[in-house]
């Protein structure tokens, strides 16, 4: 078989309206489409990564109405009407978010694959708890795996960002 016209398998699609990083998107999606696929493939925001596709690694963490959520564990249709923030929303007018700066300054990333998810979990953590203890930080990112750094520099980065954000 070669390049014959191939027609996509027809499945009933469902309309959704999801706000992502401030922009409202109205799309028709397959019911089985995961939120992470919607973000990455439909919206082409590839900063949100997939590491395990089974709710374990947190690489796909986004904020859904301000709460950290593993976007591989939610269907796009479940996010209908919600407000989503991804890593791409952190930089404002060319200025890095204090967490982004702190991760770089404290070598809180090596390959950078876990970083977007780590950042989003950390944003949520610091929004609730601007002065977290070491234990709070560890718990705050316990749903996010990093296979490179051994975590310590990530703890340091979050601590440094918290301090910088308290001063702001």
């Amino acid at each position: 078989m070669s390049t014959t016209e191939v027609v996509a398998h027809e499945v009933d699609k469902i309309p959704v309206e999801i706000t992502v990083n401030g922009t409202v998107y109205r799309r028709e999606v397959e019911p089985r489409l995961l939120l992470v696929q919607f973000i990455r493939e439909d919206l082409r925001l590839t900063g949100t990564h997939i590491g395990c596709d089974t709710t374990y690694c947190g690489a796909c963490t986004i904020l859904l109405d301000g709460e950290p959520v593993k976007s591989c564990t939610m269907l796009a249709v479940q996010a209908d009407g919600s407000d989503v923030q991804t890593v791409e929303s952190l930089e404002k007018d060319g200025e890095l978010h204090p967490l982004q700066t702190a991760f770089s300054e404290n070598h809180g990333l090596q390959c950078g694959y876990c970083t977007p998810g780590m950042l989003m979990s950390s944003v949520a953590l610091l929004a609730k708890n601007p002065n977290p203890s070491d234990k709070d930080i560890r718990k705050g990112i316990q749903g996010n795996l990093c296979r490179c750094t051994g975590y310590h520099n990530i703890f340091k980065s979050i601590e440094a960002a918290a301090a910088a954000m308290r001063e702001e």
Binding site: T3, C57, L109, Q110, R147
Partner: protein, 805 residues
Amino acid sequence: MSWVGKSLRRKEDDRLVRGHGLFTDDELGEGMLHLYILRSPYAHARINSIDTSAAEALPGVACVLTGKDVLEHCDPYMQLGPGPTAEILDYSLARDKALYQGEPVAAVAAETPQLAMDAGQLIDVDYDMLDAVMDVETALENEILVHDNIGTNQTWNGVYEYGDVDQAFADAAHVVKIDRLHFHRYSSTPLENNACVAEWTRHGEVEFLCNNNFAGFAKQLLAPGLRLPIEKIRVRTFDVGGAFGNKIWNYVYMALCALASKKTGGRRVKWSEIRTEHLLASGHGNERTYLDTEVALDGDGVITAIRSRHLDDCGAYTRYEPLGCVIFSQVLAATYKLRNIRIEMTQAVTNKCPVVPNRGYSRMQQLWFMERVVDICAHELGIPADEMRLKNYITDFPYETPNGCVYDSGDYPKMLDMAKELVEWDKWVAYRDEARAAGRHVGIGIGTTLDSGTNNFGQAQIMNPYLPFSGNAEACIIRLDFDGAVVVTLGTGPSGQGHETSASQVVADELNIDPAMVTVRSGFDTNWNTFVGHSGSYASQFAVTGLSAVHGACQKLKAEMRQLAAFMLEASEEDLVLGVGDEGPELRVKGTDKFVNYWAMSNIVNNNNAVLQGELPDVTLNVRHVYRPPFKVPDVEKKFGNLTLTYAAQLHIAVVEIDPATSRVEIKAYAAVDDCGTVINPQIAHGQVHGATVHGIGAAIMESFDYDETGNLLTSTFSDYCPITSVNTPDIAYGNIETPSPFSYNGAKGMGEGGGAPVHTMSAAVQDALHGAGVIVTDSFTSPPRVFDMIRNPNRETAVSVDSR
């Protein structure tokens, strides 16, 4: 101003923290097909037939591949092993038999990933399940054959013998016999899965975007596999989400994508692995069993000889193997000075996932073995573990090992002292003794390890004398762009080690400019990067091979710039100084206002060369350097020669307490001391140590690929495999010493693998905690269920015996 030695903020971070990295799965080009791989549910099964008609009939399916297509279009991958091992037939899809659970059996390319998966479910494979061979000892009985055509499961055998072993045993004051030890299967499971996009172009070339971390090697395997000349294969990588060696053999998946592209008239085909596929079928670390170990010691507890039989289980195929059967001998006697050794190394295939080089590859299995030997002897002879090590450590450098390896530099006693201080040794010894008196299990363990870096590929000839490999090399190109910008391309494609940053630190020092003025190209492309057969990010070598290539290229560029500037300024070369002036990077006649900047030089060479009037024909300001370490071809008969250039070392100490209710090994304190010679970027080096340490701790107490007897992998999701998380990670007291390597221009030693130090350290600590309860730690995996078993079934009586004269 020296940039080397500084914790420069990494260049790579700018894109990565913004979510602007380009990982392979981020490639979303229009009109791509998506590949789904159907895998064998059985560890060992005959494939009677495959019916693909329903899948092919599904609208949106572009092609279905089975073993037949592979046989028609591909040749088996090159095998490295000798004798019958060379006859192993390894293709990207199973043909008549599936040899491990998760082996690819068929593949579907369709318009969307979802459709491809739907179609995969419609493929009907008729299997006959066969008995599986699930351990290396059974495999060596050859009753069930994994590869029928080679008539044996044994893939390698060789004896490493040095000194006078029998005499040493005859003279020994004590002989300690250890029945059996076992190093478990795990892997470092990078967070980014394997992924690939392939296009078989109309010009008959195949272009890959992928996350393979040894692209030069992949090209050499893919070309014959796909029946193409090597130059028709283009491999590109960009950001890679961790590799740890594991991504070396994803070429089998790259070939499948290429084949699907070929069959669909050149459409781009993308495959993204899911985590379960990765855990089932994308490479595990080498599993090793050590039998009949005997250790000879003198009356002072100095080890004089070892003999042992080691059995390596390489899974279903010898991909990159049996190289592990030689690579372990880089650290044959670890950090210890014994001279009499006889180790018989045998490897066999089993019906498990094939092994792949994994952080610490094959050396950590040997280092763990040696550390177990040292601790078991120490406990049995009543010698404290620290004293035992001091009696036996190598202390004079450079040191030639019995098998001809040269340890460049080191100071293990000093590292031990530093680690003891960092961990607060005396405090914990007192704590341990009190806790023991109260009936609690507390232990302190030491692990000494080597991270041998920069391989001499000549060791491959010890494994198979017919292999035309030896030495090592790395390449670099440095040039001035039209605007004078300094642009560097490397032979390596990194996966998080910060090569862009450390290379620019070296260039900045050599040219006396700022690292911000240096662009090190991200990613790797076999069409445009310079590289040699050894190029790649593996085996802890970048700090030596990669940076030596960069350094050498800088010398050539400087020489050319001096010639050109001398010509332009009518000055003598000796009077020129390199630096940065008001008009950017420049060469200046010392103490004058006569200078020429990089733009002006580049412009003459690239745009305005009539000015040269035919002079300086060799000056191109675009230079290539290949660094070659000074290796000799080893003596294959004697298995003797220098196998690696540098030997970084790690010394770890763990204090553990075993929870009486759950048998969990709780880490009370942990210290890690590192010596990687001269440090290029302390923050990066420190980060590598932390990462390797936490990997190793996870491996020791949480992570294991466990199979049942029929060959089902029981830990095939992250929820079962349980990679270590932020809450399981102990605090780590970190220290480092620097013993510069005399063998690298910069004194650096390759590092980053960390030699599996925590695995040895945790085994030692658990044994120290439980020795009083009659336990010898004989397995590298000490998860709570394992520890529970150990306490319930003390093994000291059968695991070890001591014969003292």
